[in-house]
């Protein structure tokens, strides 16, 4: 019988997305809940009956009762799937109340992996877990994966934490050695914590979150269908796409056209969060046009934001002519333009002047020539 399972992590159920408007926030939360069913479906389609959740299934140590209950019920509903849930740093063993409730209310097909003792999770396969004891345990918990297992059994490691410290200096305590799989003789090491999919070694993977939760990882969210000895397969499970669209433009470009070409089909925009980051330089007119077009297409998306701070305004005399050819309006425009390009001023002051110039252009256009 072929050993096969789904490797996922970082569902972060209950994540609030408070910085986003109410409507998309609720949709995002619901999409995260829906990832349970999509993982189960991915397992079935891949011929697996087991899903390993490598930590951070819940976003908080004490998720709201409905968040927890809905998750447990959703897993219970997938009765042909066995869930192995490892505590991560967000839902570590320090969250004793969470794990107490899971133990009390969890379905039979859910196994909370709260101790580092090896368990036979599938016939012929031992799971060597490294549950997070604290949010910051300060030591390499995967050392427990050195534990012996019966001869002939496959050794599958399940851990949560950073292989590379993405936020601090190297050598920080608690970092999982990248060659943990080799050190501990693992056939596969399923890791969680990194929300993007990442292969660390021949048999070491971060599955990434099954549902994206930010713009950090420019990839389609999904899970991994693992069969040790065979190639790991990526299974897409994400509902929402978080996209950062970088638009680098220069005078002479048609930013509106470029943007239109880069955007997805309008029918695909509802489940997409798009952040437009424009860089480069544009004359006032094109900048205003881009700004207006961005405002026009924004409602197509589940969420849309455009950041033009990185877009410098290149203003030539002809551009200022669009405000006025002479007189006080022209003088004001020239003064603002001068300030916007004055390196002796702070960047904040330059931004204010640049924004003031953009407003002047817009207001001047409203009043015609």
């Amino acid at each position: 019988m072929t050993l096969r399972f789904i490797h996922s992590s970082d569902l972060h159920l209950g994540k609030s997305f408070g910085a986003y408007p109410e409507a998309i926030r609720n949709r995002l939360r619901e999409a995260r809940h829906g990832s349970i069913a999509r993982l189960a479906q991915a397992a079935r389609q891949g011929g697996a009956t087991t899903v390993l959740l490598a930590g951070d299934t819940f976003d908080a140590e004490t998720p709201a009762p409905d968040t927890l209950r809905h998750a447990l019920r959703a897993m219970a509903a997938e009765h042909d799937i066995t869930w192995h849930m490892l505590p991560g740093n967000h839902d570590s063993l320090a969250a004793s109340e969470l794990w107490r409730r899971i133990a009390a209310d969890g379905p039979a097909n859910l196994r909370a992996v709260t101790t580092p003792e090896p368990i036979e999770f599938l016939p012929g396969a031992m799971l060597l877990p490294a549950p997070c004891t604290q949010r910051r345990p300060g030591r390499d918990l995967t050392e427990a994966m050195d534990a012996p297992t019966p001869a002939g059994m496959r050794r599958i490691g399940l851990g949560h934490g950073a292989v590379t410290d993405f936020s601090a200096e190297e050598g920080t305590a608690g970092i999982i050695p990248p060659d943990r799989a080799a050190i501990s003789g693992l056939d596969y090491l399923a890791l969680g914590d990194w929300h993007g999919r990442l292969q660390v070694g021949p048999a070491t993977w971060y599955s990434g979150a099954p549902e994206a939760d930010g713009f950090k990882h420019a990839m389609t969210a999904g899970a991994l269908l693992v069969s040790p000895g065979a190639a790991v397969q990526v299974v897409e499970t994400g509902q929402f796409i978080w996209q950062t669209l970088a638009l680098d433009v220069l005078p002479g470009d048609d930013p509106v056209q470029q943007l239109s070409q880069a955007l997805p089909d309008p029918t695909l925009r509802r489940d997409r969060l798009l952040r437009l980051v424009a860089t480069g330089r544009l004359p006032l007119q094109q900048r205003a046009a881009l700004d207006a077009h961005a405002a026009l297409i924004g409602p197509d998306f589940g969420w849309f934001d455009h950041d033009l701070h990185g877009l410098a305004t290149e203003t030539r005399p002809d551009d200022l002519d669009l405000i006025d050819r002479a007189g006080a309006l022209r003088q004001a425009a020239e003064a603002l333009l001068s300030e916007a390009g004055d390196d002796s001023r702070t960047s904040a002051e330059r931004e204010i002047s640049s924004a003031a110039l953009a407003r002047l252009y817009a207001f001047a256009q409203e009043n015609g020539k």
């Binding site: 609030s16 408070g18 986003y20 908080a60 320090a94 004793s96 002479a326 007189g327 004001a332 924004a355």
Partner: protein
Amino acid sequence: MKIRAIELTNIRRFAGRSARIEGIGDGITVLSEPNEFGKSTFFDALHALFFERHRGTRQTVKALQPHAGGAPEAAIEIDLPQGSYRIEKRWLSRPTARVLDGNGRIVAQDDEAEAWIDRLLGDGLAGPSGLLWVRQGLLGLEPEGTNANDKNERERGLGARRDLLSSVAGEIELMTGGRRLDAVLARVAEELGRLATTTLKPKAGAEWARAVDEAATLRDQEADLAGKAAGLSGDLARRTEVLRQLKQLDDPETERLRNDALTQAREAQRAALAHAEKLAEARQKLRLAELTVQATQTGIGQLEQLSDRLGRAEAELSQARDRLAKAETGAEEAAAADRLAADALGAASGQAQAIRARLDAAQRALLGRAARERATQLRKTLERAEELQRKRDQDRAQRELTAVNSASVTRAESARETRDRIAAQLEAQSVSVAIRYDGALRISADGEDIPEGSLRLSSARSFLLPGIGTMRVDPGAGAAEGLAEALTRANAELTARLAECGAATVAEARQRLAETQRLDQAMQASAALLAELAPQGLDTLRQELARAEAGAGRAEEPVEDPAGLEAALAAALAAEAEARAQSGAVHARAVTASEGRAVARSTAQVAQAAAEAARIDAGDLGQLARRLHGLRADLVLQTGLQTEAVALCQTLEAAAPDLETVQARLARAESVVTQAQQGRERLRGEYATLNGSIGALAEQGIEERLDEVRGKLTAAEARAARYAAEVQALSRLRSALEDARRKARDAYFAPVLRELEPLLSVLHPGAAMQIDDQSLLPVALTRNGQQESLDILSGGTREQIAILTRLAFARLYAHAGQSVPVILDDALVHSDDDRIEAMFTALHRVAKDQQIIVLTCRQRAFAALGGTRATAVISAI
């Protein structure tokens, strides 16, 4: 353009005539003529020539027509760069307009002539007249009336100024942005007003303020939820720790170790206590041995002392007996001498005592006599005092009975005088009726017969005259009735006052008063005498008498002379003293001898008793020696036992455990067990409490809410920051626009100000003008750092500024290649002498390259202006 001549025909007062001004120069030309000459007619005709079409029939044209009617005509001869020209216009009747060149050839006629004039005036400029002409009495910079002419004049002037400034400085719309800038500024204000207050603070209810408020609210919520989340996290950590501690306490191996430690501590305590008992027993035996040795040693010492004491007692007894025999002999001899001396003393004392008794009797007799004399004296004084006392009491009683004072008597006398005065008045008003009867009949009144005699009537009274009738006698109506009533009241008053005095009459009252005064004096005299006789009262006097009578005793006369007895007594006493001294010395010696004998007897008895006691205590001397030997043998044995006991104690003490340490160890072991039990109970209680609080907070989904609030807070703060940036941008745009417009205005008006300010400084050194960008005219004057609106300046100053402004604009025209004359019609009427001189200077400053035509009726005042003098020639048509 320079005007050289003006000619009017059939205009107003020049009906049927022509009037021509000639000799107009390049600089200042003055036409000085008296009032009613028609200077303003020239001015108006010239104005019409330039600005009224020849076919025009407006009032301004009709106003040129003389009363006699006819067509008014005006002509002007001018020099232009291209040559000399004559312009003619005729209005109302056969109107025509013509322009002729210097050779008299018609250059243009009628409408073409009008177009030629327009080009002359305009040529890009709308016309200088409204700008440069100063009408008679004009104070302001432009006509202020509301009629059509004034409006047209203002519009024309504004157009001219706008054209002029545009030609020298550019279009004002272009310079200041005009309506577009206004619209942009309005949009900026609108956007700012939508978000912020005038001080650029978030506007209540607007988006920015809502974002700021929302952020503040979320910040509070975030703090609250963060606190709860931290509490929950702390509770979770604590519960984990509690569970760990409970697990540790409940560990069987740990508990067994605790119990074993307790058992061992208790066993050690029992062993230590048993050892301590053994040690105490050994110490008791040692003490007993020590006491036994000590008792034996004491017995030996006592027996040795007893033997010594017996020897000493026998020797002392022998000595005491010898001293007693000697004392007995001396005492008997001293007693015999003492008896003899006592007898001699008794005899001397008896003699002295007898003499003293006789002297006492003589002295008592003398004292009794003096006491009797004192008693007699006191008795007499007491009798006198008691007599005075009785008399004073009687006087006091009498005084109380006759009590009256001088005021009461005075009131009674006053009442009597009143009564007597009224009675006298009544008597004076009464009539006297004399009655004498001749027969039996009697006159009666009030039922009673009136006896003969005189009868006085003080009031009316009726008499019955038998057989005759009634006679009424009336002393006088009214007066007596009042007096009678007054008399009654006076009598009543007198009676009342006498009653106060306790008298029937005033004399009696006076007598009672005299008696009262006499009694007062008598009582005072008695009191003074009593005080003299018995200053401390009668009782004291009586007590002194009693004491004197008691001391008098019975009457005895002295039998012997006390003085002789006293001398005899002194001799007897001296003899007695000598006998007493001798007896005392002898007696002292007898007593000493007796005491020595008693001491010797006592000492002998004590020595006897001690010897007998020692004998008794010692008993048989042989037995005493045996007893002493036995005790010394016992002491050797007992000392050996004591040494053994000491060794045992030392051995036990060396091996004894520290009982305090053993007990401390037991206490610690018991404490550990107890603490484990208590800790288990406490931790279980805390665990239950933590479960409750964790469960309650976990039910609220604190962390999810906190995460949500933090997200919202981030969004709200970002939104508020965006609005703040927007407000900053708009504010910056507004200031940039205002700054640019201010600079544009300054640049726009710079040419005017450049021309105006030198002229202005002639009148107001250092002054500056502000020009309105709507009217393009000065609106305020700044002098000495203070800005003043033209509206509040004096008429003279306003007039001067109006002229200077025209001069400045005229120079601008000149700079623009359009030299036009300035025409002043009776101007400077409001200026004082100093200012007018200054204005003349200003005019000359401009006149260097500017034609100025001055029409004035003030010949003397304008004589100082100088310039060319023009003349007007009037001729018939």
